[in-house]
């Protein structure tokens, strides 16, 4: 009988993990392209942001950044709890991570609505274009990570994971670390 294509061979990296690593590398290069084009306009002698544009909500977004970083920490602790066979703690921390990720997205969406109301639209200026492109692309990635997180959470509550079967959680954690780690860089570049 032929072995399954995605079978995990002991002592070898699971194909799903290698695939995710390559995907994250592609995403890093994608964001590098966006950031490089933003930097070309950001660091020029002309005033930035352009005059007449609404002020970005620095305080609220700082708190939101803390919330996202906290979700990265709870994700890490959840994985540690799973490895230590503390399934109840793992499920609770994973739930907290999903809630924190949802709060981040909701606050971002609320702030976007306010900025649109104040006139910062995609077509208002190059500042608006870059803002929505960079921050919006990241928000899309957080949404994707949240969908994966909810899927893993659903399986976790059904008892699909333990200290030996943790690949799904590990992959979810890797992707979540990517979106969490990327955000402070975007925050520093765009908001400060």
């Amino acid at each position: 009988m032929a072995a399954p294509i995605f079978e995990t061979i002991p002592g070898r990296m699971p194909p799903a993990k290698l695939g995710l690593i390559l995907f994250i590398v592609a995403e890093i290069m994608f964001f590098s392209g966006l950031i490089s084009s933003f930097m070309v306009f950001r660091f020029n002698p002309v005033q930035w942001p352009p005059p007449g544009q609404p002020r970005l909500p620095l305080e609220v977004t700082s708190v939101n950044t803390f919330i996202l970083l906290l979700s990265g920490f709870t994700m890490h602790r959840a994985f540690q709890a799973l490895k230590a066979s503390q399934e109840a703690l793992f499920r609770n921390l994973l739930t907290v991570t999903a809630v924190l990720g949802s709060v981040f997205l909701l606050v971002q969406g609320f702030e976007w609505l306010r900025l649109l109301h104040f006139g910062l639209t995609l077509h208002a200026s190059i500042f608006g274009g870059f803002f929505y492109c960079l921050v919006g692309t990241h928000a899309l990635h957080v949404t994707g990570g949240l969908v994966a997180l909810l899927w893993v959470l659903n399986r976790a509550w059904k008892g699909a994971y333990d200290s030996k079967r943790a690949l799904g959680v590990e992959l979810c954690r890797m992707y979540w670390f990517f979106v969490v780690g990327l955000w402070p860089l975007l925050f520093l570049l765009v908001y400060l």
Binding site: P10, G11, R12, M13, K17, L18, I21, L22, V25, I28, M29, S32, I35, S36, S37, M39, V40, F41, R42, F43, N44, P45, V46
Partner: protein
């Protein structure tokens, strides 16, 4: 120097020399108001692909574990005189 290392260095050098920014006209680069941003983008982001490649390499290497204890080289080599009466 190993021949494969020479080939690697020559290949990387050839690829770098064909990159457009190496051949960019210095006057044009100086004239643009975005010179600082261009320079910063290159300096900050140039290491990114190398760091990514190194991460992939490290991940694959760290995941590889010997499935069985190493065998001595002599046991892997077929004996020249296998049958001794």
């Amino acid at each position: 120097m190993n021949s494969w290392l020479k080939r690697f260095i020559v290949t990387v050098g050839c690829q770098l020399l064909t990159v457009d920014w190496v051949w960019a006209c210095p006057r044009c680069v100086d004239a643009t108001p975005y010179k600082l941003g261009l320079q910063l983008a290159v300096v900050v982001l140039l290491p990114v692909p190398f760091a990514c490649a190194y991460w992939v390499y490290r991940s694959i290497r760290d995941a590889e574990e010997p499935s069985s204890p190493a065998q001595p080289a002599s046991s892997l080599t077929p004996s020249l005189n296998p049958v001794q009466e």
